[in-house]
Symmetry: D2
Subunit: 376 residues, 4 copies
Amino acid sequence: MNGTDKAGLGVGLVGTGYMGKCHALAWNAVASTFGDVERPRLVALAEASVDLALSKAREFGFASATGDWRELLANPDVDVISITTPNRFHAEMAIEALKAGKHVWCEKPMAPRLEEAQAMHAAWRASGKVAALGYNYIQNPAMRLIRKLISEGAIGAVNHVRLEMDEDFMADAQAPFAMRNEASAGYGALDDFAVHPLSLLRFVLGGVAEVFGEMSRPYAERPDGKGGRRAIENYDIATALLRLDNGASGVLTVNRAAWGRKGRIQLQLFGEGGSIVFDQERFNEVQLFKREGAEETQGFRTILSAPVHKPYDRFIPAPGHGLGFNDLKVIECRELIGRIRGEQASIFDFDDGIAIEKTVHAIADSFGKGGWVKVA
Amino acid sequence: MNGTDKAGLGVGLVGTGYMGKCHALAWNAVASTFGDVERPRLVALAEASVDLALSKAREFGFASATGDWRELLANPDVDVISITTPNRFHAEMAIEALKAGKHVWCEKPMAPRLEEAQAMHAAWRASGKVAALGYNYIQNPAMRLIRKLISEGAIGAVNHVRLEMDEDFMADAQAPFAMRNEASAGYGALDDFAVHPLSLLRFVLGGVAEVFGEMSRPYAERPDGKGGRRAIENYDIATALLRLDNGASGVLTVNRAAWGRKGRIQLQLFGEGGSIVFDQERFNEVQLFKREGAEETQGFRTILSAPVHKPYDRFIPAPGHGLGFNDLKVIECRELIGRIRGEQASIFDFDDGIAIEKTVHAIADSFGKGGWVKVA
Amino acid sequence: MNGTDKAGLGVGLVGTGYMGKCHALAWNAVASTFGDVERPRLVALAEASVDLALSKAREFGFASATGDWRELLANPDVDVISITTPNRFHAEMAIEALKAGKHVWCEKPMAPRLEEAQAMHAAWRASGKVAALGYNYIQNPAMRLIRKLISEGAIGAVNHVRLEMDEDFMADAQAPFAMRNEASAGYGALDDFAVHPLSLLRFVLGGVAEVFGEMSRPYAERPDGKGGRRAIENYDIATALLRLDNGASGVLTVNRAAWGRKGRIQLQLFGEGGSIVFDQERFNEVQLFKREGAEETQGFRTILSAPVHKPYDRFIPAPGHGLGFNDLKVIECRELIGRIRGEQASIFDFDDGIAIEKTVHAIADSFGKGGWVKVA
Amino acid sequence: MNGTDKAGLGVGLVGTGYMGKCHALAWNAVASTFGDVERPRLVALAEASVDLALSKAREFGFASATGDWRELLANPDVDVISITTPNRFHAEMAIEALKAGKHVWCEKPMAPRLEEAQAMHAAWRASGKVAALGYNYIQNPAMRLIRKLISEGAIGAVNHVRLEMDEDFMADAQAPFAMRNEASAGYGALDDFAVHPLSLLRFVLGGVAEVFGEMSRPYAERPDGKGGRRAIENYDIATALLRLDNGASGVLTVNRAAWGRKGRIQLQLFGEGGSIVFDQERFNEVQLFKREGAEETQGFRTILSAPVHKPYDRFIPAPGHGLGFNDLKVIECRELIGRIRGEQASIFDFDDGIAIEKTVHAIADSFGKGGWVKVA
């Protein structure tokens, strides 16, 4: 008997770098993990070179490979396209895919420039298709717990937030000047990181109304690889004061030169009845303080992710065993399928993406002006 | 062009409970993750009922399904069989599979009784095939780091170890008497848990020469579901003093009624030049103390798993982002394929399994006798 | 034989609230703890009421008591006066004491208004006496370790700092409107807290050149105790962006309505070669990340305070046993005596106090103006 | 007016090493701290040499000094004697002091040999005086909280305990052979450490009925300081299985060669309704898991010591600010005074001391015999 006769979604994948692999793993795992969706059909994979495409198609289990991503648009077996190429290609690919009647699963951020993101948004609105963004950190069951706790009032109205994101891949002062140090590569840490904590904030609480931005350089220059030194053109550190839509105050800091921080995204959420703290480096844990019960036994509790925190149970039936980073993409994939199916699904679309990216650009704008800027 | 033309291993899967799903996820992911093995061919899946087999085959991507596991033995397309059924079936299935010329990937422990495990071992020796056990915790890159540190002498000769494993699924005193509380279900926590920390100990340091065992019951009886109460026949807590092959002393405690512990396996390893502490509830971290450098800056350091800790890099290119429990099975799957290929591979075979299970039985034996027992 | 014949410093104490008691404990303990100073003579204690003064003198071991603090100024046996009254009395008392030729040990902050602090500063300069401030957190051996590490370049040039101070004594939204919610009580959290993290920053690294301030209210109003509600006039939360004298960037946030935070003062210091993290709630620990050695074993290490971190050894000869909050005041007392003796001593004087308080006022000023303000 | 006219207890102190200093600090601080006892009169201090006695009397504030401890017995102004000399002197001094009609505050353990401890006990019973032991760890407000929680049933009946105590002062394998490595110095880690966790266990839960002991040597020999090596005669590591009076099982491990552990005393207490974990290296914190409320928010909470945990409030009015090791001795001193006054006081007397030391000797006895030994 044939176990795979029923047809799932037809998938096209563009890009096979890290996020491409992450999408491929998710498409391969989603049916086994969840058991309530048909196995996707891995139809076609596109890469810049045919040889790479072929080899990756074999690794990832795609039925065909191509060196031209536009072939996926023309392929009637493809229902949805994963776009995992460098950010500067997102706009063109997403717009074309949507025009071709495909659903789109695009890695974040939408695009380097707000105008491009807005064009993507317009194409999506015109298409009637699903356009989802790869904000996988929001798919963490721990993050869903935080959202649930806040929406249920477990810590009351949130009045102050602190967001930090730090890694150390730019911390080596002797690393030579690279493309990402050029002004043309964007603001620096602000682009690289800020969308992540802002997406978590949006997911659990909401958006940002007004910002005041500051950026700084831990190192003014780097070796130019030719025996000289070259001035760094963007900023490895950015900070912003926030005024949230709900009236809360906040502060956001991101640093890509923070020695010892590897994947830290810390949220501190202070409410009228308690506090919540989360750190992505221990993303199977939530810290919760509730002002309840006898004062003598109050304290921050460490909640370990468990089957009760859906959909952790689809991965592991026992609590405290730990999801991995790639598992979050599998959840995202399931949510995407749900959105395509018309289910209530928890995934960020281009509306969310625009809101987040506007906040980032407003921070940069404020830094230029030296005053508060509204997120229009 | 067809991306999946080259043939990988032919896989048969018996059992589709949690560990069956975990094996299926691993077989689906191993090629995409590692990129250096052909995608396995998911040939056939066996379950007790054909209907369940069919539905799981569709979920897991197996090409065919059967209600009779022996069909897999006769299928020439099957090279290796994943055995994920309840422990009491392991012996018969593994022995038959090995006799049929299949490689075997069997979940731990080998079997409830040592005689069965020994029969499995004999069948394996006679077969010339690979027989691997699902000790996935040893596949953790953090655990490999610990082994490497110890073998390189980073903390000198280890002279004392402490091992703990705790969960709380038997902690509810009001949960009704169940099969696992019967004497026929085994010793209790000793069978359920002890193989895990002992496998980690074996992996990083070595075996156990002599033991003194103790077992206890947190609750003497449980509701019998008929309005009465029934005496619990085995032990939810077990402790053993250990004398290791290398001369070190140790202590092992396991508790399946430990409220708040969800997946804790703590190792404390004390050596002549430092100490290492590990806790499975934060299994992407290793705590290392080295007696080196100025005393004023000595301290336990928290090492986050990172690409430098192979094969973490095959899952995520950035440090500190976190592997999940299921990822460890993918690594194990890759090691199994390596072992079958004749590569140097890091996986526990039936030699290891026998050594571990003998230790468990010696602890029980010692408890009965009230004196030290050699692990023969 | 008489063990107390040699004369130590003659001490006068004004105020017997918590900080008065803390000074008294320090004066009682300093000689026994350090063994290198004569026991201070506890000459006279002043309180608002004579009865309270008498009873506290008996408790604290002072030889005499008075209801008029000015009596201490006239007492030739008094060499140094501890000023521990509410902040609004500091200026008058300190100025008079200095004029009377007494050394002064005054609790921080110097005074609510900068003009008063400046008058104190002028009086000090004119007096030729020692004027020390009770910034006891800087006396922590862990903080001295951090300063030493930074000054030795252990983490290279510091390029970014984050400072947080949080408690929850104003977190209860139903607590009635109180004096501290009035505008006349000051800015709110900014006055209450900011001097603490700023003092630590100054101690380990240096001062602040420019600030941008923001303040917010978690609750707009409180019960007025008469069945109505009254608008809160100052701010329980304050945040500031910082540009440091050394060129580093920074952010400071303080919150006195942060549920679950009890005595948190967190410092994060990022440098060219490593990072340091400190949290006052675990003030016997320093977190240090150094980029050195093999990458596979790099990580934040937790350094426990120990005899090697002077003067911890004067309290406890064994490492990891833990100093207490009151012990820091004993160290401060020893430093004060050292300063009076003309030794090299580590204590903040009125120069330091003015610099810190100017920064606080600049933050408030910036908040009013909505732009960056230089700390003049 | 004279603030110190009313007479407190007359105190004699024997010994001025670390614990002598600790007692002296406590006697100096107890009245200021608590405010409800008269300031003790520091009458006389005894040391082996008169010169040392004189100098320490000056430091510690004692009115007189002597080279002969028996002078204190004859001094009618002395009501209570602090005995802080090496353990081998405790028995003689305590017995003589009690015979002389003095109350005794003796450092733990009572004596190296059980017979001596029993003689002390007999002398105490005959005296009608107070005889208290310096088990200062039980005075920790956090420990009182644990006792309260257990006695109130917050975690239900405790069915399993784990006790560990580790330091690293014997961890250096190259440290030369010293007196403490001789058999005449006692069992080794068992004497040095076991009384501490056993005292905590006794304080929060109760005593031990039966033990099985094991001891081991991390290093077989040490440099003898003359170019050769000498075999170590006692044991730096000891472990014991415990059967408690209340029917619970337990395990105790102590290690004075545990690199990186500085003052660790970890308790894990598992009960029918929850768990409690405590670590002396963070002794201002208690970890509590209660099985209550929604499963999705259950977790171990970290309770910071606070004024609500009496008598923390006598030291600091704000929560989370941290007591120090020496503060525990001040609490003990207050309890001692209370016991002398006839108040309900929480301090271990010689009944408690005998019970603890019998357990230690039973462990050693069991190790010799290789079987379980009842604590008679």
